[in-house]
Amino acid sequence: MSRIRQWKTRRNAELGLLAFAMLLVAAFGATVEANQFDEIRPNFWVPAALIGILFLGLHVVVRFTAPFADPVLLPAVALINGIGVAFLRRLDIARAIANDEPVPGFFAETGGRQLAWTLLSLILAAVLLLLLRDHKVISRYAYTLGLVGIVLMMIPAVLPGSISEVNGAKLWIRFGSFSIQPGEFAKLALVSFFAYYLVRKREVLSLASHRFLGIDFPRGRDLGPVVTVWLFSLLVLVFEKDLGTALLYFGLFVVTLYVATERSSWLIIGLVLFFGGVYVAYLLGSTIGGPFANFYDRAELWLDPFSQENYTRESGNSYQLVQGLLGLGTGGLFGTGPGAGSPGKVPEVRTDFIFAGLGEEVGLFGLSALLVVYLLIVERGLHAALAVRDSFGKLVAGGLAFTLGLQVFVILGGITGLIPLTGQTTPFLSAGGSSLMANWLLIAMLLRISDAARRPANSLAERTSGPKKAPTQLHGAMTEVIKP
């Protein structure tokens, strides 16, 4: 190489940031105790230390298996995950105090369960990093993953409502008290499949086109896949009664398509199709009802949550949405302080509405910091997509990062009344194992891809081709193959 550059792994920066993140989690815990017990108990730091040890474990795995991975991803996610656990524990403490029960142990109740789920998720992420040394291997199983993704996505829709329905949305498989959300895992499988499919098809999708109004539109017959996915997502909307999931799958496909072809026309087609579909579903819901009725109701609540009629309705009223909005409003600019608010008033504050509960306590100031952290996570994912050398990796990383961002948008938009509310989990924050595990697997994939992206070209060749081969000689000219 003509220029010699010091390649830094930046693992120590990651460790430092991780320690900082855990300090924040401990500070959150201490403030909660000061507000709830009127004293800071000597063992306030234990939850933060426990979760810190877990992240330290993953950090060590990253150090050995993906030494060039992005230094920011892990600490940023660790902060959000840690705050999530601390906030759930805060809710447990408040409930125990209200019921005159003893303070829950570190492994008890929702907060403790979330800690256990975090442990499991981190083990899964570490296993993925250990087993998957090269992200391109996934492309071999692309069609299998695509099938698995569609099956996972459709299972809740075909199961009877008694098994799969929670709060009107059919997204679950329930076994007694235990339930999983297969859709969370379907995302990962579908991203891999879309990326593989589009790497193979992008030439035809981006070349053959009609020019109209200065934008290149694809030919009718090339619209097949996008229309298929659109129909699928509308089926999800109607049968799983969940706008957020439909938006997630469809947005994911359209954006991967856009990234693969560099054609903005796909975005326009996607937006028009989606909003058209949603509007038709709304109209159908208002006239014939049936499977569209649920979506119509949700849209009505979104349009006017404060109306007497919507607030006092028997079922499916806007009580939750209004409580969330009031919580955010009570928090104001700087919040009531961790542990000083009353997030318990918001229904589902542990899962869907955790941002409303947290927002009351940390205020707009704190909430926007958390949102910036999400933004940075997504940005690092997109950066990995830009920097990685193979097209499959680019599409997977871009798709995964975008999914994460879109999911935060869907739930936060729902809570704040920007879009109709749908029951999405807030990544890394909400209580729930499926979401946490799937999202940590997503982060493990991004770490793997960013490792490939930042790894110097020579060391990549060494790693992938085993013993170091002599550079190919082309008639006296030295060549270096960057792309394996």
Partner: protein, 160 residues
């Protein structure tokens, strides 16, 4: 707990949170120039390659000697040839310096020749022609740094 301590804890947490955000941004800033090799999110599909590379000629630096020939698109994408004094022949023929297996390339397609530190591209009577950026190469043409030379589906450029 005195009100004062609670207020300090409340604002202290928020300030720490933002310090964390800015520390992360600082780490990213120092990291910004590492690893970002390709500008386009996906290597450009053939044929529309110009769309991505178009912007380059304006930025092409003059006065710097070319040291490398880099294949930016096509089957050999990523291949680098360190330039010396010898001319470089490109084509499907086995004895070319750069052997490209491209259906649209001729056996002896084009040649890159250095003259007084400047490289010239010359078409060797190929069937489908050689293009420098958008223009067809008819005679020996000087090649600025970073401007794509297109042969069939393959794109090459000179790099310092």
């Amino acid at each position: 707990m005195p009100e004062f301590v609670l207020t300090v804890a409340r604002f202290g947490f928020l300030i720490l949170l933002w310090i964390f955000v800015f520390t992360v941004v600082g780490v990213i800033r120092r990291d910004l120039f590492a690893g970002g090799r390709s500008k386009s999110i996906v290597a450009s599909p053939r044929g529309v390659g110009g769309a991505v590379l178009q912007g380059r000629p304006a930025k092409a630096k003059r006065g710097k000697a070319a040291r490398q020939l880099v294949v930016t698109a096509g089957q050999l994408a990523g291949t680098r040839i360190t330039l010396g004094e010898a001319p470089i022949t490109i084509g499907r023929a086995e004895d070319s310096t750069l052997v490209i297996t491209d259906d649209f390339a001729s056996a002896r397609h084009a040649r890159l020749v250095p003259r007084d530190g400047q490289w010239f591209v010359e078409d060797l009577g190929s069937t489908n022609g050689t293009y420098l950026d958008r223009g067809k190469v008819s005679g020996p043409t000087p090649v600025p740094l970073g401007v794509p030379i297109r042969i069939g589906r393959t794109s090459l450029e000179l790099r310092p």
